[in-house]
Symmetry: C2
Subunit: 180 residues, 2 copies
């Protein structure tokens, strides 16, 4: 499961779901990926909504390009609704999607993808309370732990994190690496 | 500005925006209306997201009918996303709308109206971070302190509360009363 040589951006804003940032960050680094925390630029540091973590991003959305990464991870919590208000965050998500990068969103993460208008015709999942918004954005909502549809990977809640992380690693070729 | 004889339901769920419940509650009672706090039934008491208020609802959504009220008020905060998960709350909002009752929503309140699928063709406002969801639900989003479109009244944030309250009183005939 080696992700050596892969660059992954994890998007950050205030009140992210703590475990949905911390766990993928740890798992992707453990797998050998270079992980870059990309903030919206609204603050210097961001706290998780449960108050267990505070992070200082490595970069801001207007200072990076989708082309610099192999994958984009969008944690949930109240953060995605705040990310939506920053055009560079929306543009980064849209560009990553259009360039065929792996775009992974969990819980409320798909809210940013609604704003990027990239869900049309996709099958995906999310936290149940925004399922109607996902459907109205043209997405086909299903209630499953993890859904991979082309370059889009989605999950529902922190309980789905192991499946979510594995799907990202698999999509980046990490699993195939082990089979060589 | 008398609302004597008018019955108003204010919907309640956990993490409502404190002032968006407390202020209309006080203003409508001061104007003479009978105000009924209607909870989703998920809890016995509900706290505001800022922790300044705790309320115990007078009724639950499955125990009341839209026909019992002249108006429905939906405060914002994180509460509307939780209200959406309870069919009796969604049904109550839809019934009130269809029966021509005054339906007033502020901030994130329109999220419940998206779930009730009553925004199609309406001009309305909301907190900016859900504007895209309102548009995707068929609503015509505008950025104004208060918007009244037929029986729908909407506002953006706590700063709009005075205009929001006045529009509700006006729609219920309270202002006309004073002119008699």
């Amino acid at each position: 499961m080696s992700l050596v040589g892969k660059r992954i951006a994890i998007l950050v804003e205030q009140d992210f779901e703590d475990s949905e940032l911390a766990e993928p960050l740890q798992v992707m680094r453990d797998a050998g990926a270079e992980v870059v925390l990309v903030g919206s630029g609204s603050q210097e540091t961001y706290q998780g909504k449960k108050g267990t973590i505070s992070v200082r991003p490595d970069a801001t959305a207007d200072g990076v390009r989708a082309a610099d990464f192999d994958a984009l991870i969008i944690p949930g919590g109240h953060a995605p609704e705040k990310m939506r208000l920053h055009a560079p965050m929306v543009d980064l998500a849209r560009d990553a999607y259009r360039q065929g990068k792996v775009v992974a969103a969990i819980c409320h993460g798909p809210q940013l993808l609604i704003s990027a208008d990239v869900l049309r015709g996709h099958t995906l999942t999310c936290v149940r309370s925004i399922a109607v918004d996902v459907r109205n954005a043209g997405g086909n909502y299903v209630d499953e732990p993890v859904v991979r549809d082309r370059n889009l990977i989605t999950s529902r809640t922190p309980a789905d994190l192991p499946a979510f992380d594995n799907a990202i690693i698999d999509a980046l070729g990490g699993a195939k690496e082990a089979l060589r």
